[in-house]
């Protein structure tokens, strides 16, 4: 649904809003392989990028998509790739090593439910690495977080994952696409020009020490640097969360992404029915808003967690609450037969019922 009249506010489906936001954020390279509901973002990028002098590659597989994005990122071009969680599974080796090569990259997980939380926040690949993870709850927020993702990727030279879902992709909202951001080509980007200077650039997940510096590959040092960097980043990046009505809440419900919108709606109704319920919606999944959750849990009798999966974020909630209150899982995988991520459970009545049960217990 494109609003060609292009007023300040436009009615855009999530996929298109994300694509437009990426272009505005300076993204000039995108590569992907179709998979619902990521496909639509790819289609929009294929349509939009050439117009701004960018490149969109219809890669022949997810492995090739992430490889292409890697190459473009290494030139300092703001780049992104993505898929559903399933396609991202194929990219895990590269995603892990791109992080160790200290390259900025924005990765979209247009997930099919919320079962990719572990993959996104723990890194499904090998070794110690972390991506920053942002989870918008609607397309308006997606527009903001996409901008943030490119900023963070550039600032930290680290992949930033943005987790969406089928609802986000297919829900149109009136959004405002911000003005374009100009990103300078970073000094470390490859373009060939440093060849023959005696200091030709090297970008490698094995570290950037050169043999002429008498170091050779010093993997231990490189990994230690990367680990220190991850830790600095994790502490420096501000965890974001939307907190509602938790001051006096007996029950605090934690949920993220589009499902959180359903939880919030259910909680609003329960509040209006006189129940002392509040919500925390983590917006950054890594770093997790541990403090916001801990603070909300402090006065609560019980903390409930809703996720459209078998219980993954609940780990992070428990780590935040650390015994201050019991943590109850009220989620569970819900999917219709398309498998794309439409969830029968995402119904305010169902959620009210589950939350009420926790309140009553």
């Amino acid at each position: 649904m494109t609003d060609t009249a292009a007023p300040a506010r436009r009615l855009l489906q999530g996929s298109e809003a994300i694509a437009e936001a990426m272009i505005a954020a300076g993204c000039r390279f995108f590569s992907g392989y179709p998979m619902t509901p990521f496909t639509e973002v790819l289609e929009h990028m294929a349509r939009l990028l050439p117009g701004v002098g960018g490149i969109c590659m219809n890669a022949e597989s997810e492995l090739e998509a992430v490889g292409m994005a890697w190459g473009a990122a290494a030139t300092g071009t703001p780049a992104a790739t993505g898929s559903t969680g399933q396609g991202l599974s194929l990219m895990q080796e590269s995603l892990a090593e791109i992080t160790l090569a200290r390259l900025p990259l924005v990765v979209l997980d247009m997930a099919r439910a919320q079962g990719d939380y572990y993959q996104a926040t723990r890194g499904g690949g090998h070794g110690d690495y972390r991506h920053l993870v942002l989870a918008p709850a609607d397309s308006a927020e997606a527009v903001t977080l996409i901008g943030l993702a490119f900023d963070l990727a550039e600032r930290w030279r680290n992949p930033v994952l943005v987790m969406g879902d089928y609802y986000l992709a297919h829900t149109a909202r009136s959004v405002t696409i911000p003005g374009p951001v100009d990103r300078a080509v970073p000094a470390w980007g490859l373009d060939g020009s440093s060849g023959g200077t005696g200091r030709a650039k090297l970008i490698s997940f094995l570290g950037s020490a050169k043999q002429r510096d008498d170091v050779g590959y010093d993997l231990a040092a490189h990994y230690a640097d990367c680990a220190a960097h991850t830790s600095t980043m994790a502490h420096a990046v501000k965890p974001l969360a939307e907190v509602t009505d938790t001051e006096d809440a007996e029950v605090v419900v934690v949920a993220f992404g589009t499902p959180a919108r359903y939880v919030q709606a259910a909680v609003r109704e329960l509040r209006s029915e006189g129940l002392a319920v509040g919500t925390v919606r983590p917006i950054t999944l890594y770093p997790f808003p541990t403090e916001a959750v801990a603070r909300a849990a402090d006065g609560a009798r019980v903390v409930a967690v809703y996720e459209n999966n078998q219980g993954q974020m609940v780990d992070d909630v428990r780590l935040a609450v650390l015994g201050r209150a019991p943590v109850e899982f009220i989620g569970g995988l819900s999917l219709d037969s398309s498998g794309f991520g439409i969830a029968p459970d995402l119904d305010v009545r169902v959620l009210k019922e589950r939350i009420s049960r926790v309140v009553a217990s």
């Binding site: 490889g67 890697w70 023959g196 090297l202 050169k210």
Partner: protein, 262 residues
Amino acid sequence: MTGFVPTDRPPSAPARLVDDFTPALIDVGAHHLCPGCGEPVAMRSALEAVDELGLTRRAIAVFGIGCYTAFSNNLDVEVLQALHGRAPSVATGVKRARPDSIVFTVQGDGDMVSEGLQEVLHTAARGESVTCIMLNNGVFGETGGHMSAATVVGQRTKTSLEGRDPDLHGRPILLASLLAHVDGAAYVARGLVNSAGNVARTKKMLLRAFEAQERRAGFSFVEILTMCPTGWFVETEEAPGYLEDNLAAVHTPGVLKDEVDR
């Protein structure tokens, strides 16, 4: 000792230096590859070609993972280290983002014919304006001499101790031959570095491949058969002959396709 010419210092009679210790664009000559390995020779040729064509300030090498990776932090051209099998896609990303650069991959047969066969074929089919260079020793040198998808029938490797058996392990993929049949490929050649003459011939192929890229004729590819005495379990001095009689007998050297001028 009589009869030997002193070689511990430059000559005293007037003379011109025609070849220096460390080849062009290689930072440090010493490396840890095995005695008699053909990969440093191939690397040298590729970099000399870059140098001779004046591409030094535009070249970006994308490395795969194999023994030759030892050179990835040892060059005076820009290098991007890719994963095992993935260099052609990474090179594609680089080239598309920086169309004025000259992009080439350095990969082994394990990297390119086993792990990453699909990448090079798609890159060729796309007619991507990059040059892929494969160092083919018919074996995974780096992991200790295992069979690759390019190992020739009868070749002994750690995973084909009795020699590659076509009934059990199938037959080698002749990558250059296959690529010659892919439409987007403009230049496809196979050289070898088992003698000074063959090194020179291979260098010509490399020069032509880079020319293909410069002229945006399409995808270009040079396979270089290299000695791996360690992975073949032969003596270093037997390796050039082994290469000729075994690998080169199947992976036949020559220019398989040249549509650069088309």
